[in-house]
């Protein structure tokens, strides 16, 4: 029906549909951030890394974009977020520019850590993004502490912490979840269960069937969602956020997905059975989102193409900017180990 309508009318009817259906605007945002994440990571992993322009490793969230984007769009500016290393989209949602990410990977001063750290180890306190450390899972008790501070101040924010299946084997994870549960802290726990921790498959990671099974052990609600369905992730995160903001304590969401890459750019992932790549390629979250948008008449091919063209343009410019960002001076080496001493006479 829409296809035969003159363009102006189609636009008008879409405007009506949007007023009626908030999913339209939401879907556009999902698509933008998920596609931006995919493009930035592809550029990092498949181009800049191979060109030798990345000082260290590249960790991508290919195939898992629905998780950080779906959950990220639930977060509010005053919420505290703790992304993990496959949650790049969350940075963009919070206001980090792709050029800062390229500069970060290239070890340039334009990166969020000004060359002090690399890859996804980046945060910005003004944007309320806390940087991960390499010992995955360590962010969970820290996020519990942020949630504790929220409760302490009596405000309505929540802390959102992201982690993988592997992180749930670490003691810090359990200590953090337990403390948050006992103290009923406003903490939303989002697990990207992509079934591999580096080369370790899930059945060697844990003996229970689901990460969500760990929730009841701490007396907190837990649910499983299709991690490749961005709407499902978004809705689950909304439920979790509502629960946390209401003072009911932490809430665990397990997003089932698959890591469509090796652990990092140097790892071809050849320990993964081939049929799994093929099966999960069919469930690609971006492809699914586009399909849904088209089927529901929320967007036409032209609009999808436009979004992609805009992203390519942004990413091209961001790469250029990052390549022009200088390397840090060696004199920066000792800066910020400690707070600089206060001028004499002050305490």
């Amino acid at each position: 029906m829409a296809a035969v309508e003159p363009l102006g009318l189609a636009r008008a009817s879409r405007a009506v549909a949007e007023r009626a259906d908030p999913n339209v605007e939401l879907a556009r945002q999902f698509l933008y951030y998920m596609s931006l994440m995919r493009e930035v990571e592809d550029r990092l992993e498949r181009k800049l890394y191979r060109q030798g322009k990345i000082a260290g490793g590249v960790y991508s969230g290919r195939g898992q974009e629905a998780i950080c984007v779906g959950a990220g769009l639930v977060t509010e500016p005053d919420d505290m977020v703790f992304p993990s290393h496959r949650d790049l989209g969350l940075y963009f949602i919070r206001g980090v520019h792709p050029r800062q990410v390229f500069a970060q990977y290239m070890g340039r001063v334009g990166g969020l850590t000004r060359g002090k750290d690399g890859n996804m180890h980046m945060g910005d306190l003004r944007l309320k993004i806390v940087a991960i450390i390499s010992s995955i899972g360590a962010s969970v008790p820290v996020a519990a502490g942020a949630a504790l501070a929220i409760k302490y101040k009596g405000t309505r924010e929540a802390a959102f912490v992201f982690f993988g299946d592997g992180a749930t084997s670490r003691g810090d994870w359990h200590e953090g979840v337990n403390l948050a549960a006992v103290q009923r802290l406003p903490l939303v726990l989002i697990c990207n269960n992509n079934q591999y921790a580096y080369s370790t498959p899930l059945d060697k990671q844990m003996a229970c069937a689901n990460v969500a099974d760990r929730g009841p052990a701490y007396g907190i609600p837990a649910e499983i969602v299709d991690g490749n369905d961005v709407f499902a992730v978004y809705e689950a995160t909304r439920r979790a956020a509502e629960h946390a903001r209401a003072g009911l304590g932490p809430y665990l969401i397990e997003c089932k997905t698959f890591r469509m890459s090796g652990h990092s750019a140097h790892d071809p992932g050849d320990y993964v059975p081939k049929h799994l790549w093929e099966e999960w390629a069919h469930r690609d979250p971006i492809k699914r989102l586009k399909q849904r948008m088209m089927e529901n008449g929320w967007a036409g091919q032209a609009e999808l193409d436009q979004t992609q063209a805009r992203i390519l343009q942004e990413v091209d410019a961001a790469v250029k900017w990052a390549e022009n960002s200088p390397f840090p001076e060696a004199s920066a080496l000792l800066e910020n180990v400690y707070e600089p001493p206060a001028p004499a006479g002050e305490n």
């Binding site: 519990a144 302490y152 337990n178």
Partner: protein, 323 residues
């Protein structure tokens, strides 16, 4: 009325909690029970559950939560029931807290404090001196007071500091040390040693409970006509090199004394700095006195043999002054 070491720390934290609503305490058994050493006694009644937080038995979560709260602008004071247990939170301390400012400019103003040291037959897990683990971690500050006056002034400075501070309280001093201290607010700066006892013939550089071992030795040496200067480091990181080197320059003979075990202890670091920067002032080799490289044993005769004491200091001091 004289104030005990433990009471001085309690007062310091209490006053900071009165002064700054962002300061709170968190740890195991610190609320209802008032802490294993009663250092937080009365705080729950006065400040309430919001600011005196009893946690599960989870050192990594205690430190992690303190980091998270400090990133939110609060100033947590986290208790390790025994400093030995900080090993459970090692990653949070050395990888998370110590590196936030350097990596991404996020200050982590927090204090981790707890009882350390031996002499109370606590055995291998209730007697250790873990300071050197952290002195080796850039981004942390490490404090180990010896007097009630310093303990109060330093805990206040530690709470007001904008970097993570580890505060080791020698448990044998808690109720043994009593002194008159000023009522109300004062601070002692971090990173500054002090001349605990002036002297001219040799320097004993030490900290914590060993200050009193040094003092006992110095009093005997005095009778033998030898004047020992005692430097109380007070802060181990950053190290007050100036005060140490100044004393070496003055006496030309130095003993580095600590209860922590020898290898990798801070004495080695200080010896190296003296060799690098004050070699020309030395009239004799630098001497280290420390616990031997063994776990802290439980049985009294074993522990006595383990701990440095005045006799061991005297023996080395006499030898040194004959050199």
């Amino acid at each position: 009325m004289p104030t005990t070491f433990v009471e001085a720390i309690r007062q310091g934290i209490w006053e900071e909690m009165e002064r700054d609503p962002n300061v709170f305490v968190i740890g195991e058994d610190i609320g209802v029970y008032g802490g294993a050493f009663k250092l937080t006694a009365g705080m729950l009644d006065h400040f309430g559950e919001r600011r005196v937080i009893d946690t599960p038995l989870s050192e990594a979560a205690i430190v992690g939560a303190a980091i998270g709260a400090s990133l939110m602008g609060l100033r947590p004071v986290a208790e390790m029931q025994f400093s030995d247990f900080i090993a459970c939170a090692f990653d949070q301390v050395v990888n998370f807290a110590a590196k936030c400012r350097y990596r991404w400019g996020a200050p982590v103003p927090m204090v981790i404090r707890g009882p350390s040291g031996g002499g109370v037959h606590g055995g291998p897990f209730h007697s250790q001196n873990p300071e050197a683990w952290f002195v080796h971690t850039p981004g942390l500050k490490v404090v180990a007071p010896a007097t009630a006056y310093d303990a109060k002034g330093l805990i206040k400075s530690a709470i007001r500091d904008n970097d993570p501070v580890l505060f080791f309280e020698h448990k044998a001093l808690y109720r043994r040390i009593k002194e008159e201290i000023p009522a109300g607010d004062y601070t002692v700066p971090l990173g500054k040693a002090r001349v605990f006892r002036p002297g001219k013939d040799l320097s004993i550089v030490t900290y914590g409970a060993m200050v009193y071992v040094a003092l006992e030795a110095a009093e005997t040496l005095e009778k033998e006509g030898l004047s020992a200067e005692i430097i109380d480091l007070r802060t181990l990181l950053p190290l007050d090199e100036e005060t140490v080197l100044g004393s070496v320059q003055k006496t030309s003979r130095v003993i580095l004394l600590h209860e922590d075990t020898l290898t990798g202890g801070i004495g080695g670091e200080i010896a190296a700095r003296i060799a690098e920067r004050a070699f020309q002032y030395l009239d004799a080799p630098v001497v280290r006195i420390a616990a031997p490289d063994a776990p802290v044993p439980y049985s009294p005769p074993l522990e006595e043999a383990f701990l440095p004491n005045a006799a061991k200091v005297l023996e080395k001091a006499r030898w040194l002054c004959r050199c």
